[in-house]
């Protein structure tokens, strides 16, 4: 049994793009944001300027429920750089609104992970003061 935690060390702060500034502003407030098409309601992530469902340029920011399920996951034992503590568990979360978020699952044992398991988003602040959306089993 090996416990999964949010990364305790320094992590290079994300550099927002023109499209993603509102996303990171939301994270700083503890709010998970995504874009939804005002024309066809298709949910969009990562942030952009046009709807991936219908092509309309009418995306509106919305707050996610923060509830979802594990779509896929891995457990990393060889870190990308020495700054990352292993193990950590990158995962794709399918949010209740039907969009996909890449994050890491925390606060559980590696053996507890399974595709389809219910999760909720939980924000953790890095050493550098960046608020990141992680996922926890519920």
């Amino acid at each position: 049994m090996t416990r999964l935690h949010a990364q305790p060390g320094p992590i290079t702060a994300p550099s927002p793009s023109v499209f993603s500034e509102a996303y990171w502003e939301g994270c700083a407030l503890g709010e998970l944001r995504f874009q939804r098409c005002a024309m066809c309601s298709y949910p969009v992530h990562t942030p952009g300027a046009v709807c991936s469902g219908c092509g309309a340029g009418a995306l509106v920011w919305e707050s996610s429920s923060g509830r979802g399920v594990i779509h896929s996951f891995t457990v990393v034992w060889r870190p990308v750089t020495p700054e990352f503590e292993v193990p950590y568990a990158p995962a794709i979360i399918e949010l209740s609104e039907g969009w996909f978020l890449l994050t890491c699952i925390i606060d559980c044992e590696t053996e507890d992970l399974s595709i389809g398991a219910d999760v909720e988003i939980a924000f953790r602040t890095t050493l550098d003061g960046v608020s990141l959306p992680y996922a926890r089993l519920v």
Partner: protein
């Protein structure tokens, strides 16, 4: 069948430099130039015969040999470079094109994963993502959907690593033989991938020369381009690698089957089907990707790839031998792109019948690939000993 201009183009020269974990005395520029000279010698040509170049060091080649003005492509390497060179020749922009690349000295500090595997994107870098983790998310989804096992992946890795074990020029020559159990017992990198399920990293150069079939008359053994295609689903390592994503163009064309459309185009241009392929020089960044490609390209049904690779099909002597030089797991993985072109080079060697190990007897058609599901792209090229 309509005439396909790709059929007017042939490959007349290929060369790999020495491949090694570290190539002392070389940098990327010097090893690329050595590769270029090797491919020219193999084609029986001089630098002045080249009027088109592809590759990051193509400009250097133009300048050093004072062959300008010539056509130059900024194409990425691997199969897209081969196809673009072929199109340039078919369209009359160039008559004889050199593709050359190499890397040395860019990854010698090993505490981190290789620099080309580390994304900097805002949505993935904070979560410690790198290439192995991206591909592991795809493999895990396939396991969930179809019951694919780590044992089937380990078998693929053992077959490829044994091909490299027997290859005199492989970086990992003589390291085997390997069994699936050896792979499963190696340390975990990104579940379900053990160390031996993954590509290694090394240094090396590689190059190729293409020209028109007319000009190649008299060449020792010109190898024909039968067809090709490239499939992309957008930027790699930025958006979550969701197996089912895509599908707006056609429901079965999803990120998990990336390469299917490219293979359909290639097979149609060649006028053949998967059953007529003699050697499968598939790109092998991770063991699972071989299983996935057999499904995506129609060698077997969706979800059947695990059983397919365990059926005896992929070993030397089987109907679809894979990655016969040891690929990125054992032969070489020289950087961001060197190894992508080496799949095509190996296909050429197989069809010439000149492989020093794992030569497929009487091979007439080779399928070479690049990319992978975790990277959201897959490229395909079909080569033949005869024009269609």
């Amino acid at each position: 069948m309509n005439h396909n201009p790709l059929h007017d183009v042939v490959i007349t020269g290929v060369h790999n430099t020495r491949q090694a974990k570290v190539l002392e005395g070389h940098d990327s520029r010097s090893i690329s130039l050595e590769a270029a000279h090797g491919a020219l010698a193999d084609a029986g040509l001089a630098p002045i015969d080249i009027d088109g170049v592809v590759g990051p060091f193509g400009n250097d080649f133009i300048h050093q040999h004072r062959i300008g003005p010539v056509w130059r492509s900024l194409s990425p390497l691997g199969i897209p470079a081969v196809l673009e060179a072929a199109m340039a020749i078919a369209c009359g922009l160039a008559t004889t094109v050199l593709i050359a690349t190499g890397e040395a000295g860019s990854h010698r500090q090993r505490s981190s994963t290789a620099p080309w595997t580390r994304p900097t994107n805002e949505f993935v870098a904070p979560f410690g993502m790198f290439t192995a983790a991206e591909f592991a998310l795809m493999a895990r989804r396939h396991m969930h959907l179809y019951g694919t096992t780590p044992e089937s992946m380990a078998h693929v890795a053992a077959v490829i690593r044994n091909n490299g074990h027997a290859h005199p020029d492989a970086v990992f020559r003589g390291r085997g033989p390997f069994t699936a159990a050896d792979v499963l017992e190696s340390r975990m990198v990104a579940d379900p991938f053990h160390l031996l399920d993954c590509a290694m990293t090394s240094e090396g150069g590689t190059a190729m020369v293409l020209t028109s079939a007319d000009r190649a008359n008299g060449s020792a053994r010109p190898i024909h381009i039968l067809g090709g295609g490239t499939d992309h689903f957008g930027p790699a390592y930025q958006n979550p690698p969701v197996w089912e994503s895509g599908g707006r163009r056609r429901p079965d064309l999803i990120a998990g089957t990336v390469g299917r459309r490219a293979s359909e185009l290639a097979f149609a241009a060649a006028g053949i089907g998967p059953g007529e392929v003699d050697v499968c020089e598939f790109y092998d960044p991770f063991s699972f990707e071989i299983i996935r490609q057999f499904e995506a390209f129609g060698f077997c049904g969706e979800g059947e790839g695990g059983d397919f690779v365990l059926s005896g099909a992929i070993e030397p002597g089987g109907p679809f031998p894979i990655t016969t030089d040891g690929g990125t797991m054992s032969f070489s993985h020289g950087g961001a792109a060197v190894q992508l072109l080496q799949r095509v080079n190996r296909g050429v060697q197989q069809l010439r019948g000149t492989c020093s190990s794992m030569q497929v007897d009487g091979a007439e058609i080779a399928m070479c690939t690049g990319g992978g599901s975790g990277a959201m792209f897959t490229d395909v090229i079909l080569l033949g000993t005869e024009a269609p």
